[in-house]
């Protein structure tokens, strides 16, 4: 394999890693604040792709407007899910909210089948993203570069939101100690709603990037990216943003490099990811960047 091809795969892996990372951050933010695995996150991801798709095809909006409205609708959806299914169960046993999350995921999936049909639809890719850029002999798709750039910008904004704003402070406080944070006058409902909105926006963004990369969308598309991203979040240490990003990168790289270097084993990539997950959980149950949990 030539050096150029290697770099090509590397760039590819980085951009896929960013997408997984963005989804994983959505899981991690929600888990950090409400200690709930949002099983419906993959379905929020899927819905976002459909929102943008319909904004573009049905209402013939310009693509950038469809993207903005799609992200906004997804945020509303995320907050709505929290309001309807998770808030009534906030003080219930953990297993109940877990069931509610699984139920919501199941519901959204079937809702999508009923509303949008089970067949695959092709997602519109703006012409300027469909081209190939040549950087010093390394041929890279424009989508790949766009993914890296957009994710980079989003990560900077996210870091600012979490570390420099009042809302970010409230989120961090809730994730450290829910009850004490409440006593300190933090508006719990608003902060949680904000967290879900933020997570959903990240899901929407990654869904769009995903759909530009693999332009076939259907009601079950959220499933595997969702599962892999969640695995990434656990591997990195759930609750940690850096960990989620790191885990996402790791999975993106494994996925791409495995296909590139061992095409025979490509079918087993999810099995390999799973074994990695189990090993990491056994060695370090809170993940690579996770803090030690008390029982």
């Amino acid at each position: 394999m030539s050096l150029d091809a290697f770099f090509q795969h590397l760039v590819n892996g980085i951009s896929l890693g960013f997408i997984f990372g963005l989804i994983a951050i959505g899981y991690t933010l929600v888990y950090g604040v409400v200690k709930l695995v949002n099983f419906a996150h993959g379905e929020v991801f899927m819905m976002a792709a459909f929102f943008v798709f319909f904004g573009f095809t049905l209402f013939s909006m310009p693509w950038w407007l469809a993207v903005v409205i799609g992200i906004a609708l997804t945020m509303v959806l995320g907050v709505g899910i929290e309001r309807i299914a998770y808030r009534p169960l906030r003080n219930a046993p953990r297993i109940s909210s877990l069931c509610a999350a699984i139920g919501m995921s199941f519901l959204l999936q079937n809702l999508a089948v009923v509303m949008f049909g089970g067949r695959q639809k092709s997602f519109y890719v703006p012409p300027f993203l469909a081209t190939t850029i040549n950087v010093g002999g390394v041929k890279v798709q424009a989508v790949t570069v766009a993914t890296i750039v957009v994710s980079g910008i989003v990560l900077v904004i996210l870091t600012f939101l979490i570390n420099r704003t009042k809302m970010g402070l409230a989120m961090r406080a809730l994730s450290v100690d829910f009850d004490t944070a409440k006593l300190m006058g933090i508006n719990v409902n608003r902060t949680i709603a904000f967290t879900f909105a933020l997570g959903s926006a990240l899901a929407a963004l990654s869904a769009i990037l995903w759909a530009l990369r693999y332009p076939q969308i259907w009601p079950f598309m959220g499933f595997f990216p969702g599962w892999r991203a969640f695995t990434a979040a656990i591997i990195g240490g759930i609750g940690s943003v850096i960990g989620a990003l790191f885990g996402g990168f790791m999975l993106g790289m494994i996925t791409i490099l495995l296909v590139a270097f061992f095409p025979a084993a490509a079918g087993y990539r999810d099995a390999i990811i799973f074994v990695l997950l189990v090993v990491i959980l056994l060695v370090k149950p809170t993940g690579i960047f996770g803090e030690k949990m008390s029982r």
Binding site: V37, R94, I95, G103, N110, L111, V114, I234, G267, L281
Partner: protein, 347 residues
């Protein structure tokens, strides 16, 4: 009046006999459509009761049932298919040697299928010592998906995505409900034994249970092994009933259906799992009308595929949010119910 133990035993034996008689009648007189629904109902009961042992009684939220079923279904099918049938199925790549020649009776094939699933259950249950709650759900879910991936890729053993077709139909009401009765009996006995009390104490408080000297590893893996064994049996029966299996039919939706049954019936209630398992099998068939075109006051509404599952999903979410305990909570059927309702003036 409190029903004494002996009367209860007689009542139980009598009702089982009546039930067996009904099965016999159903097997010989019922039309194939209803018989098929009843078969599916029996398999749902096996699956739901076994999953309830893991999720409901031990409190280890597993989403791996479809994986265990797939293992059971494939192992059993590869053992009870005739060599000629196997040769016909494996036309892309022949089946590896010892399996291609073996054929054993259905019953033993099922047992071996269950046993292999139980080994997988041990492998999944073991990491469960370190991971709990939500993590476990993800790990088991991942496990089920991995089984699917492996079945899709091991062309020489599983025939890959093509699946196995034309399986001989051994499954009838005797098989399904016979196994269902055995599953219910076994798991009921297990849950009521000292093992069962240990399992329930793990559900209630893991740390306290450990402090009381309960071996967490042993009991958690026990729940997984037993649950997986019966899931494997259920998978084997299902394969022979459907006459065709392929890796993608054992997907997460299958697990979701079973999880839905136990949540609606009540986590930790065998009675609930049985009642909901049968109800679910019938509803799945009789709700088909919502997916066919409807004529409402002269307006024709075209049928929408997937409507049934949406209805179930809505019911599930409403149940989880508003009726958290499901239909039966943790209560079980008992003959005392009748004596209590029969008594007019409680003193």
């Amino acid at each position: 009046m409190i029903v004494n133990k002996k009367t209860k035993l007689i009542l139980t034996i009598a009702s089982v006999l009546v039930f067996l008689l009904l099965i016999g009648l159903a097997e010989s007189f019922l039309d194939p459509f209803l018989r098929r629904i009843l078969n599916v109902a029996g398999i749902y009961v096996i699956l739901a009761v076994s999953l309830n042992l893991i999720n409901g009684f031990t409190g280890q939220f597993s989403l791996g049932h479809a994986g265990f079923m797939a293992i059971g279904a494939y192992t059993a099918a590869l053992l009870y298919m005739s060599p000629a049938l196997k040769a016909m199925n494996f036309f892309i790549q022949p089946l590896i040697w010892p399996l291609s020649e073996i054929q054993i009776p259905f019953f033993f094939a099922l047992i071996v299928g269950g046993a292999v699933a139980a080994v997988a259950g041990f492998a999944v249950g073991a990491p469960c010592l370190r991971v709990g709650g939500d993590y476990l759900a993800i790990v088991t879910f991942g496990f089920a998906e991995i089984i699917r991936v492996i079945l899709n890729n091991l062309q020489g053993i599983t025939n890959g995505p093509l699946g196995l077709k034309g399986l001989p139909t051994y499954t009838n009401l005797w098989w399904t409900w016979g196994w269902a009765l055995f599953t219910i009996y076994f798991i009921k006995k297990l849950v009521d034994s000292s093992y069962g009390r240990a399992l329930k104490s793990i559900r209630e408080d893991e740390v306290a249970a450990e402090a009381m000297g309960i071996n967490l590893f042993k009991h958690k893996t026990l729940a997984f092994v037993v649950g997986a064994f019966f899931a494997g049996i259920g998978g084997g029966l299902l394969g022979s009933l459907l006459m065709t299996i392929d890796p993608n039919s054992f997907n997460i939706n299958l697990t979701f259906q079973i999880v839905m049954i136990i949540l609606l019936g009540g986590l930790g209630s065998i009675t609930g799992s049985i009642v909901m398992g049968v109800t679910f099998a019938f509803l799945m068939e009789f709700l088909r009308f919502v997916e066919s075109p409807m004529n409402v006051f002269g307006m024709v509404i075209p049928g929408i595929a997937g409507m049934r599952m949406l209805i179930f999903a809505v019911i599930l979410v409403i149940t989880v949010i508003f009726f958290r305990r499901g239909l039966f909570g943790q209560k079980e059927f008992s003959w005392d119910w009748f004596s209590r309702t029969g008594r007019r003036n409680p003193e």
